[in-house]
Structure formats: structure tokens, C-alpha cells
């Protein structure tokens, strides 16, 4: 029966290929889609998510929405930076704690000028020196404060660019003073930009050491870690124990979703869109096969009559036409899969991407095409089986 089906198909190769064109395109679209989605997914993770994928953040677990923060001691240590940088995979780490100034104003001139506004409410954070690297900060001018400042509890400050502008400070070579409430701080640097924690940009940042003695803060609020690529999951699992060996459960560690998950998400989005397109072209292809097979059934009435006279049952006739369109579909699947793979490789080469394609896809394409062919051939096959041999023979 298979031989009969292929014999009929190879009799008119050009027409067979035209018939299969729709399915060829459909399968090609599907394979290209799956391949490109996977390839692009890999790219997106590799390129755009580097910043997010290297970020780990530890804070006090407030017990969820209904948590009672008050009852929980904060186990975060001020030497978080030292403890974490010992871990393999941590690039930088630093603490960040917001300080409640209780409405105190900040100004850069010692005397209040009644004519112009010179006092502002500016947020303040205390930070260990490593925070600036952990948030990937860049200096506009001056320098970061260092461990010496922090350990001694020096009254120094770094200004975010917005804070510097409001306080009208743009040069720091003379370490200009700013006044916050009754406290005086020497500005040593002004930030140009940070890649994380943008609220630093409008704030005054002071060393933990000074904040502890001045405001009596007992523990940092947050620890920010910049990890090496690929280490986020590992550090996420180690950070809590490194920071609070006795009560790691009190801490909440925020790690980026694993790269695999991100990739799957991206692939899912792209896949969904293009699978619909591929599915539609496959449907159009199936209709094409059905249509042409139907025409060929009518054209081959004489052959059907002859086969019935030679002992074929209705079932034989139906099976033969089903086989024909299934073989056609499988062929289309094969060609389509090849085209699709070529498209993936071509596009990847063009974009200098690494082509990624699951090996099951080209393998599954011919059977999938055969199924499309079977479905498409069903109606024409039933039509062929219903032809009466007498009238078929009469029609020549």
C-alpha cells in the first residue's frame, strides 16, 4: 500500500511538491520558530539580564504581610561586608540602612537665609563602603569614603547628584560642610550614577560607623551583594548563614530567578506567538493538501473504478488515498524541517548568535507532517471510497 501511494506521488513530482508547499511552509515556520525562540531566549538571558542576574539582596524577614517586625531581633551584622566577601562568588557587598532624621533639615550654609530656600528635607542612608561597588556606583567628583572613615566613625558624607544639586554643592576638593539638624558632615564625594538602588541618588550617604554613634542604629536594614555571573543561586543559599549563623531563618534573601527560568519565560512568550503563526500556516497547508487530493480523486475516477474491478474494497481505496496524503505530509514535514533548521542557522549566523535547537524538533517534523496529511486526506479519501465502480469505469 505504501508502494502504491509513493508510486502515485512520484508520477507527478512537480505537482506533488506544489501540493505539499503549504505544509512545507507550515513546518518550516514551526521549526524556525521553535529554534529562533530558543536561540533568542539564550541571547536575551546572556545579554540583558546580566545586571539582574548578579544581584542578591538580604533583609530582615518581616514575616510576610502580617508580620510583626517589632518582635524580631535583627540579626544582620555591621561587618556583613567582611563576612560576605569571604564567600567564593561574591564580588562586592555592602550594607544600606535608612536613617530617620525626624524632620531635620539639611543645608549647606551655616546660617538660615530668610530670603531664599536653603534648607531641604533630604533622605539619609548609612552604608558600609562596599555598598558603592555593590550598587555599581560611579563618582562625579571626589572619592568614596573608606573603611578608615567607617571604623573611626568620621562625620563624612557622599551626596547623590540630586541631593548635591539641591544643596548647591558641585565641588568637593575642599570637603565642603553640610548641616543636618545639629550635625555637621564633610562632603567627600558626589555620585554620578548607580545601577541599583536609585534612591541613593537623592540622598545623603554616611558611614555606618558615624550613624551608629550619632543615631544609635543597632543593625543594618539591608545587605546588597554583587555576585559573579552564575553564582546568584549559590550565594543566595549561603548568604543567610554567613550573615546570621544562629538565626538564618530570620532573614529574607532575594535572588534573581534562575537563568533557566528566565530563558523559559522568554521562550514561552516568543513560542506562543510564533506557534500560532506556524499553526495557521500548517492549517492552510492542510487545506491545500485536502483540496488538491480532492481534485486528484475526481481526476482519477477511472483508476478508482479499475482498482475496484481488480479487487480493491472501499476500505482499500480510502487507505490508499490516506497513505498518499500522509506520505505527502511526511515529505513536506521533512523538507519543512530542513528549511526551518536552515533559517535558524542563517538568522543566527547573521546575528552572530549561537543556534540552539532541540534535536527532537526536526525528528518530530515528518511524523507531524504525516498526521497533518492524514487529517487533510480524510475527506478526499472517504469521497474516493464512496465512488461507485460502475460509474467510475464508465467515466473512463
Amino acid at each position: 500500500m505504501l508502494a502504491e501511494a509513493t508510486a502515485a506521488l512520484t508520477a507527478r513530482p512537480a505537482r506533488t511538491l506544489l501540493t505539499a508547499l503549504g505544509t512545507v511552509l507550515g513546518v518550516a515556520a514551526l521549526v524556525a520558530t521553535l529554534g529562533l525562540a530558543k536561540t533568542a531566549g539564550g541571547q536575551i538571558v546572556g545579554r540583558f539580564d546580566e545586571l539582574e542576574a548578579t544581584r542578591v539582596e538580604v533583609s530582615l524577614d518581616n514575616g510576610g504581610f502580617f508580620g510583626q517586625q517589632d518582635n524580631r531581633p535583627n540579626p544582620l551584622p555591621f561587618d556583613a561586608e567582611d563576612r560576605l566577601t569571604r564567600l567564593n562568588g561574591v564580588a562586592f557587598a555592602g550594607t544600606k540602612t535608612s536613617i530617620d532624621l525626624e524632620g531635620a533639615f539639611a543645608r549647606s550654609v551655616p546660617v538660615v537665609d530668610p530670603l531664599g530656600q536653603t534648607e531641604f528635607q533630604v533622605p539619609m542612608f548609612s552604608a558600609s563602603p562596599g555598598l558603592f561597588d555593590a550598587v555599581r556606583g560611579q563618582l562625579e567628583t571626589g572619592r568614596w569614603y573608606d573603611h578608615g572613615h567607617n571604623d573611626r566613625g568620621d562625620a563624612v558624607a557622599i551626596l547623590g547628584p540630586a541631593a548635591a544639586e539641591r544643596l548647591n554643592i558641585n565641588r568637593v576638593d575642599a570637603s565642603p560642610a553640610i548641616f543636618v539638624g545639629e550635625h555637621t558632615l564633610a562632603v567627600v564625594g558626589i555620585i554620578r550614577a548607580v545601577e541599583r538602588e536609585p534612591d541613593l541618588l537623592s540622598a545623603i550617604i554616611v558611614p555606618d560607623g558615624w550613624a551608629r554613634t550619632t543615631f544609635g542604629i543597632v543593625a543594618p536594614e539591608e545587605v546588597h551583594i554583587d555576585v559573579e555571573v552564575g553564582a546568584a543561586q549559590l550565594i543566595g543559599s549561603q548568604a543567610a548563614i554567613a550573615l546570621a549563623p544562629n538565626d538564618p531563618d530570620l532573614l529574607r534573601v532575594a535572588v534573581p530567578p534562575s537563568p533557566g527560568q528566565v530563558r523559559r519565560d522568554v521562550e514561552g512568550d516568543v513560542n506562543a506567538l510564533f506557534l500560532v503563526l506556524g499553526g495557521i500556516s500548517l492549517l492552510v497547508g492542510a487545506i491545500g493538501i485536502a483540496n488538491v487530493t480532492l481534485v486528484s480523486v475526481l481526476e482519477r475516477t477511472g483508476e478508482i473504478g479499475l482498482r475496484r474491478a481488480l479487487g480493491a474494497t472501499r476500505r482499500h481505496i480510502a487507505t490508499q488515498f490516506m497513505f498518499e496524503s500522509a506520505v505527502l505530509g511526511a515529505l513536506a514535514g521533512l523538507i519543512g524541517a530542513s528549511l526551518g533548521v536552515l533559517v535558524v542557522v542563517g538568522v543566527s549566523a547573521n546575528r552572530e548568535w549561537t543556534p540552539i535547537l532541540d534535536e527532537w524538533i526536526p525528528l518530530a517534523a515528518p511524523p507531524a507532517g504525516a498526521i497533518v496529511g492524514l487529517v487533510a486526506g480524510l475527506y478526499p479519501a472517504l469521497k474516493a471510497a464512496s465512488i461507485e465502480p460502475i460509474s467510475a469505469l464508465r467515466s473512463g
Partner: protein, 232 residues
């Protein structure tokens, strides 16, 4: 031994307004190695009779025994099996598949037949040699003359050793010289023991048969009984 064909008051009426009585209460017996010709004007019911004999159609009345089997008792699959095993058809329009070679066309007859498919090609080639086409085995029908095409069709009808060869106007599309060679082939096959029923409206064709049966308005009448065709 049961005759090859026995028709007992067979009828075939096509429904319609008015209904067409293509065959009325007809009796016919074809013994083994008979060679009968069925003659009659156009529309008299010749093809209808042949389709009934070939199990391509069912009678609306009467009984048809083929090789002693009451064909009314057979379902479609069994009838298809009988067609494959016991009947050979030759049509006026040849009905060869244009994209298959002569030998492939002949092999087509064995697809639905029991038995080994191993020597199919050899059997098909032998059948072609038997009809005198041993030299055109791999030719395509489009390159064959009308007479040669009909020979391929005869070879296809012969290959399985049928009980009955049915031919509907086998020479209708051929000139007289080519017709003669086909009729000679039929004579030879008959001499070799084949049972033939040939439909024709050509006297030259019917005269070659052992027996002639006339059909008019669906009624069968024997014309000549067992003509002695001379000593052989």
C-alpha cells in the same frame, strides 16, 4: 461440476421516474471453457449484464451463482475478493495507469490477491509474453499503440488465472486489423482453456465466439447454440 456462471431470473432495475428495466428475468449459464458473445444495440443492457457478472453491481432480483457460490450471500469484502481471484476485466477504454510501465500495470492486478508477492514481477512478465508483448515490458502506455495497450489490459486480466474473462467492447477503440489480432489472442486463450464472455455489437467479433446471445431491451435470447467452428 458447477458451471462458472449461472443466472436464474436475474433482474436489474435502475430506480427513477420511470424506472429503467436494464435487465428483465434473464437466465444464462456459462460452462467452463465457454466462449460466449453478447450482442445487442446500444442501451440494451450489455454493460449492465457485464457489471453484474463481474460483481461490480448487484441484481435487484434473481440469483447469480459464480463458481457455485450464491453471490447474494457475499458481503462487499468477499465480493471484492472474488473479483480479485476469479474475474478478469478488459475494457473498451483499456484503463491503464499512464504513469506506470506495462509490467507495473499488469502487476496492479495482484495487489488484492492472496499469495506470494515475490514472483509478481516474473508472473507479470510471463503474462505480457503470453499476449505477445515480451519486448515492451517496461514501456509506458502512452508509447504503446491501441492494440498493444489492449494486450497489456488482457495480460492484466489473465495474470491470476481467472475463472472468467469479461470483456466489454474490447475492440471498440481499435481498427479492424488490430481487432483481428486481439480476437486471435482470445481464440488462443480459449483454446488454452479460458472461459470468456465478450460484449460487442460487432458481428466480426461475435462470430468468433462459440455461442452468441442476443440482448434486447434487457431480455436475453440465444442466437446460435454451440456453433461448430470446424475441426481444430
Amino acid at each position: 461440476m458447477a458451471p462458472v456462471v449461472h443466472l436464474d431470473r436475474i433482474e436489474r432495475t435502475f430506480p427513477g421516474t420511470p424506472p429503467v428495466h436494464a435487465l428483465r428475468e434473464s437466465n444464462l449459464t456459462i460452462e467452463k471453457n465457454d466462449y460466449i458473445a453478447i450482442v445487442g444495440p446500444s442501451g440494451s443492457g450489455k454493460s449492465t449484464l457485464l457489471h453484474l457478472l463481474g460483481l461490480l453491481d448487484r441484481p435487484t432480483g434473481g440469483t447469480y451463482w459464480l463458481d457455485g457460490v450464491d453471490t447474494a450471500s457475499l458481503d462487499d469484502t468477499a465480493r471484492a475478493g472474488m473479483r480479485a481471484e476469479r474475474i478478469g476485466f478488459v475494457f473498451q477504454a483499456f484503463h491503464l495507469l499512464g504513469h506506470r510501465t506495462a509490467v507495473e500495470n499488469v502487476m496492479l492486478a495482484e495487489i488484492h490477491r492472496r499469495g506470494g508477492s515475490k514472483q509478481r514481477r516474473e508472473r507479470a512478465e510471463a503474462a505480457l509474453r503470453r499476449v505477445g508483448l515480451g519486448h515492451r515490458i517496461d514501456a509506458f502506455p502512452t508509447t504503446l499503440s491501441g492494440g498493444e495497450r489492449q494486450r497489456v489490459a488482457v495480460a492484466r486480466a489473465l495474470i491470476g488465472g481467472p475463472s472468467l474473462l469479461l470483456a466489454d467492447e474490447p475492440t471498440g477503440n481499435l481498427d479492424s486489423k488490430t481487432s483481428e489480432s486481439i480476437l486471435q489472442l482470445f481464440d488462443d486463450l480459449h483454446a488454452a482453456g479460458l472461459t470468456l464472455a465478450v460484449i460487442t455489437h460487432d458481428d466480426d467479433v461475435s462470430e468468433r465466439a462459440q455461442r452468441r446471445i442476443r440482448i434486447h431491451d434487457g431480455v436475453l435470447t440465444p442466437l446460435t447454440e454451440l456453433v461448430d467452428r470446424g475441426a481444430r
